[in-house]
Amino acid sequence: MYRLDSADIARRVAQDIPDGSYVNLGIGMPTKVANFVSGDKQVIYHSENGILGVGPAAAPGEENINLINAGKQYVTLLAGGCYFDNAESFAMMRGGHLDIAVLGAFQVAENGDLANWATNEDKFPPAVGGAMDLAIGAKKLFVIMRHTTAANMPKLLRRCTYPLTGQAVVSRVFTDLAVLDVTPAGFRVVELFGSNTLEEVQAVTEARLLPAAEA
């Protein structure tokens, strides 16, 4: 099977972010997407702690302890950016003002359910942070994840078995094998990477995959 590495998945996600979008990138792998957004696009990044217009990482020695992103990394502010409090930041999110949120996931179900904050094996109570607000709030929710778990178990399921982050919230899933849309009929293939066939990808997917639509 043809597998994209995580940088290439992030690059693929970046392609689907239109010029002029307001975007929130989740902590971890989603944050890397910004590195691959083409320089001729203007994308305004939102950080849940209260920033719109997040710029590049702060240069060494230029860090401001207060100016961090949701992942607690030192960042900068772009010209045209601004600050606000956390209630306003989540009003923005919950109110549907962000065009796209990119999140990681443990599981995605064919009805769009997302599970990305807790497993059934947690030793400690998991942290939810802003995941549930982002899940219900953004106009489009992109998920970026490996197609299967480290133990080769499917993550694209008929129904999630882990605790939900949100119901029927996922728009599109980007994995190392394929890009899939959540449709009323279930997962529909948007793109198969490299030489991957629908049958090969279906074999590692619990949910039924619909072939790419012509229409």
Binding site: N86, A87, F124, P125, M132, D133, G166
Partner: protein, 226 residues
């Protein structure tokens, strides 16, 4: 005459009693009142309910309160991060209770406590484990969860500038939870980088009106020896 300036951090937290609910501003180490927390820790106030976005990392801030066994319950959205060892230790031993709240629900619950609102319907967490036991309602085809106000006895805040009336100006993303907590606590106490004279703050830049703030302490003016 209104003058909310206090001369020491110790004095600022002196009346926080055992069993108090205490909001603590901050998101990670951004906009967090570390010196007020340290004064509270040295005072040894026990059985506190701490309301904050995080539970602290390493030996600092909220982690130091957990380490010293001063916290009965913590209400937050993101208790675990790399280095949140004291939260994990206390939680595993059953020594601290956790109320996990989605971040936007946490800040809005705090805001409405300060705004005199009795509850709000949010789509966040609908259909998830964090809505269990809560009233839900479908409005125009969308599911919502009823969330209640979250007030507190005290709030510890961090800001950049203050004046004697308690007006606060923050630095960059250091606002985070501070403005809502200022509204929601019976007594709000701000640790600030600098206190300016009345009239020296740009009124268009004031984020937290002084009406919400009871005490301000300049962090440079005094140090709590560790």
């Amino acid at each position: 005459m209104i003058d909310k300036r206090l001369g020491s951090l110790r004095e600022a937290v002196a009346d926080i009693p055992d069993g108090a609910s205490v909001m603590i501003g901050g998101f990670g180490n951004s906009g967090i009142p570390l010196r007020l927390i340290e004064a509270l820790r040295q005072q040894g106030t026990r059985d506190m309910t701490i309301i904050s976005n995080n539970a602290g990392v390493a030996e600092e801030g909220i982690a130091s309160l957990l380490r010293d066994g001063l916290v009965k319950k913590i209400v937050c959205s993101f208790p675990r991060s790399a280095g949140s060892v004291w939260f994990e230790k206390r939680f595993e031993a059953g020594e601290v209770e956790l109320e996990l709240v989605p971040q936007g629900t946490l800040s809005e619950r705090i805001r409405i406590a300060g705004a005199g609102i009795g509850g709000f319907f949010t789509p966040t967490a609908y259909g998830t484990a964090l809505a269990e036991g809560k009233e839900t309602r479908v409005i125009d085809g969308r599911g919502y969860v009823l969330e209640k106000p979250l007030p507190a006895d005290f709030a510890l805040l961090k800001a950049q500038l203050a004046d004697p009336w308690g007006n606060l100006i923050y630095d960059t993303a250091g606002r985070n939870f501070n403005p809502m907590m200022a509204m929601a606590a019976r007594v709000s106490i701000a640790e600030v980088h600098e206190i300016r004279e009345l009239g020296e703050l740009d009124p268009e830049r004031v984020v937290t009106p002084g009406i919400y703030v009871n005490r301000v302490v300049a962090q440079e003016a005094q140090h709590v020896p560790a």
